[in-house]
Symmetry: D2
Subunit: 377 residues, 4 copies
């Protein structure tokens, strides 16, 4: 008996001496998958995914994988928002502590330049459907049969609360997001601050209209249960949906302030969705005019443009000048340089052009217009 | 002396016995680069490049390379259109036979399912600028100081004649294609039948308007001098500009008839340019609806679409139904299957949707609209 | 109170009606990553990974992810071998049932053509170090301070038992696998049947010698804790280490019989490791001679070879004939066709050639030799 | 008449004002295809292709394409070696000047940091077969029925003369390079200085033996007639065969001196072929040891190696130490960093290891051995 106890002790000592995760001989590099957008308007443009699951509700990974995925994707802020009421793994993970997922993610994110925000998914039938409360203080206190009480408790804790997948066909069979009286009440009482216009692979034009009509922050989330890499074909160039948050700084307070004031854009399937006032400067900052010249014998301006963002912009020329290398639609590949040639009829010292940005949405069926200014060298 | 003659004879015999090109141990496969579009309207949709150069004018390759490039690109018809008047290699290739390039290409194309059409580039200052005469009988007879005489001779030979790069900045400094009196005269006399709306990497909206105003066939050409693979980044997925010809059959006569009757679409930088009457059926035939279903609990239609063409279509939803997986812009990747989900509010037996096709141009700043019909299974 | 209970019920009903994993709109295809080797010697060559972890010991995923990874990799058999004694997640997953991981994986693998074998990792300091017991009946009965008792219990249950990472530097600082008296005893008593020659990214030549000296089955395992895709750079063409098992059929019994009789080859980092008697037929079956011809004028044989396996073979020519397209080293790319040309001096009706297979190991520093037979057409 | 002359003049002026190749709007970048090897032994290691054809004999491109291909491949020196006696295009290119191809290439290479060397292919039946004379002064003077006279004239002009494809099956049906009395005479008289061990896709072990037995420089050449990109699948990572020349400087004189003194290595299909005295330092310079450490608790050395060359080295461990991450064969990918782990049993301050380099050939069936020195940090 004594001998075997010694053996066991030896073993445990061995473990302590060895690395935390045994046999792990190095990770592959998180190569070119990091999501990049420029800062703008004096704000940090933070990449955030506020809706994710782990084994602590109905997800399939431990919280550390969510942290590693986020680091690989270059995210700034995440929240693990376990279902409070739906705990399919509770036979194996029976404890009542709804803050546990957050604690584990927080610990895993140490030294990673990644903010982890405490959150929970309040998981109810419609209305109100599912909502996320993030920036809360204690998830356990959100457990109550009456959903309105839950919202009030969340508000008391200082939460930012947003409506999840209002278009979810399991709850609305036609997939059409619609406000109910309960939602109107919640909004009126300041208990609902945002709405998912994008959830996983779904986009809702109706949700966008609801956001604008009710001054709710536009949110895009992965709602990931399995693996980000598989769900969004990341190795083939896909990306998860996220919310770009225009924050004064990279702090929890900054992010919360930005959310509460609706300074967000959703980034989904190469599409930017949000208010015109944020979309236009974001896109104009992404597209940097590097050089404009005329060859001495022509009046065709040769323009070098650099796209510093991850978006492939699809621009529609709205100006009177016609293009020499394109029809009126121009694709601007991400993180690369593109040449435009513009027939200005006369040699000019400077000129500007307007483009509609077709892969950006500033209202249902509406695309923002940017203005590019060209100074000839 | 006799011995060395024998040696020489031995050598020549060796060459005759060995393969035509010595030391050539097999070519790499012309893999996925073949340009594909479906046949439509009872026509063969033939891939044609009617404007190319070889060493017999100012190009850098022997005609056999032009044939091999065309075979790799899956073209149906080519023409080598050497400059009649511009012969920078004439110090080395002095002979006066302007048909020579055609003859060599024709010989090289044997057994290749590739039609080679006899053509020439009439190379004049503006007006009339450069024009190509194809389907001619003898290029040598097109040599005359008076360009109008040349047009008349070409017509006599039965040529299809088109205006090359009317937007070429070496001849029009502002790059704006404009008709001159001489062009009007040529058109009136039936001496000009087509116009390059696309030449190499240039597109001209003004040329497209001229084509429509004057009933000229829309032409897209590479005007290649160097190598197709380098000029259009073919290994990275690029393609040369071509003319899609809607021909009764794959014969010279069929192609000429189609050209004379303006049954053409230019294919350039992932953009289709031409008359609405050809664009719409071409695109509607390219996009095949495979299956439409509702899951039993929802009224969101799940649609599987197959794009059988090489074009990545950029569609803008014009219908009242909103989409569940996309905003109003939908990218349909080439030669692959795409899923659309449509919120039809009620479960329907069939419905249709209209989309504007943004990467197709049916007039300056105008995009054709297609109609997709969905029969629910 | 009653109302909110109804709400809760409604919600739960909603969940039952919706798909099992909510919001999952389809997975990307498990494309070309499936590991393929031909069957041979009348055996099925089964792809097996017998050493894996989930959240039920120190892994980072729920068992369903292990099943999905295996399906994507085209595996035939897996075992989740949680540490019996090392349970770092026990604060969250406190239950004492060591069979739980197996049960969840088994359920997840339904309808997947994937065999899940019950197993456990006995996790002790050296000696004996860590061992896996698979094909057991009840993992819970393997909990005992005395490791030898554990082995005996496992044997009683019919287990196949193998020594894990005998070269693990946390237990042997020099990384040199060495038998101890305890191991000799275990082997003598029939309590140890296999040994990991490959664990994760490590290979042990010394372990291979121990396997051969003691008639232990050669095992290669991933010992995965995180994600297979990240750990082995799968999107870039990497693969996890596995054991190829030469089994009479694809059944648990067949696999166990094969293991007990040492019919295995490890597949690691493009290297095949095992007994010559299995390596040689496996490789000879992988390389299919499709056609052998002479051109009429030469005595250089032109040979078309198809590699039907996932291995890139590196062959060293051992025959007297020299090659026309290669030096003595020939790379045979996986799942593709390769041309060899052989200078046979005279035109032959048939001939054979011997090659050493450098990416296969049949003993420390030894590579098997294959014989390819060529029948001239 | 006068008017049309003016038109013609206008046109020509237009051409002069426009760029040399009209309508050429920029080339794609010659991206990662440049062939790279480090300088070594105080020599510049120059990348040279001394055997190429253009339309001036039986090739299919104008000389400018050969220059552009060379620039894209990062070559330092090329020679266009047109057949003196075989002029299949002479109906079109009738002039007698055999220096013309060189002159055009030289002009095209201006400002390109590419040396163009004057050369010719003497094209005879066997013996002597085909030979290239490069560094000549006047190709026209090499036209004579008596091949020996040609060699003497070439020598008089200061030529470096090498035997082309001695294994060419059109001249030796068994593909076995063999010296004849005529070759022995030529060598004895100092009229033959090198031999192609590699021509296009063929390698000749017998030619390598002849090179070593007769002190001839080892040469590898493309003998390209068509396009380099197609013949060697360059977009898929292939490369043309070249000769690496160990030259005092990047000058014609330096190259010629190196060739005359046999300081060459052939680079073919990822294989380096040449004398041990050049191979070993070239490979040892290509593989840079960046860092060697022990983790505090182990005696397994962790080594970071950088391969600065384009060769994927296949190393076979010849030392007594065994490896922790590999069997005895190690692949070192080109232009990247590789980790080796070595079990040194004791912690050492420094140690060395020998590896056989399997993708290098220093004699028929022989591979050079390199020594890597590791200083522990």
């Amino acid at each position: 008996m004594k001998k075997s106890t010694t053996l066991l002790l030896c073993f445990l000592l061995t473990y302590c001496l060895s690395a935390q995760t045994p046999h792990d001989h190095g990770h592959s590099h998180s190569s070119g998958r990091k999501i990049t957008f420029p800062d703008v308007l004096g704000y940090k443009v933070l990449k955030c995914d506020f809706h994710q699951h782990s084994v602590f509700s109905d997800g399939s990974v431990w919280p550390d994988i969510r942290v590693q995925e986020a680091v690989r994707d270059g995210l700034d802020v995440i929240s693990l928002t376990e279902h409070l009421e739906y705990q399919p793994h509770k036979e194996d993970i029976p404890h009542p502590n709804r803050n546990r997922s957050y604690q584990l993610a927080l610990n895993s994110a140490k030294n990673q330049n990644l903010i982890v925000v405490r959150g929970s998914e309040v998981t109810r039938s419609m209305p109100p459907g599912h909502v996320n409360a993030i920036f809360i203080e204690d998830a356990n206190k959100l457990m109550d049969d009456d959903p309105v009480k839950v919202f009030r408790e969340a508000k008391k804790q200082g939460a930012f609360i947003f409506w999840n997948h209002p278009n979810w066909t399991s709850q609305v069979k036609d997939g059409m997001a619609k406000l109910t009286d309960m939602h109107r009440l919640l909004i009126k009482e300041g208990l609902l601050h945002g709405i998912e216009v994008v959830n996983d692979k779904n986009y809702s034009e109706e949700a966008l209209q609801i956001a604008f009509d009710n001054n709710l922050a536009v949110i895009g989330s992965s709602d990931i249960h399995g693996l980000i890499d598989w769900q969004y074909d990341v190795p083939e160039g896909g990306h998860r949906p996220i919310t770009l948050v225009f924050s004064k700084d990279k702090t929890e307070d900054g992010v919360k302030d930005a959310l509460m004031n609706g300074r967000t854009v959703a980034w989904f399937n190469n599409t930017l969705i949000g208010k015109n006032e944020f979309l236009v400067p974001l896109i104009e900052s992404s597209i940097v005019v590097k050089e404009v010249t005329y060859s001495s014998k022509t009046t065709v301006a040769h323009i070098t443009i650099e796209n510093t963002s991850d978006a492939e912009f699809v621009l529609e020329n709205q100006s009177d000048y016609t293009l020499h290398l394109h029809a009126d639609i121009v694709n601007i590949k991400p993180n690369t340089t593109t040449i435009l040639e513009v027939k200005t009829i006369k040699a000019l010292d400077s000129f500007n052009m307007k483009f509609k940005v077709l892969n950006a949405v500033d209202a249902p069926k509406s695309h923002p217009e940017i203005n590019l200014q060209f100074e000839v060298k």
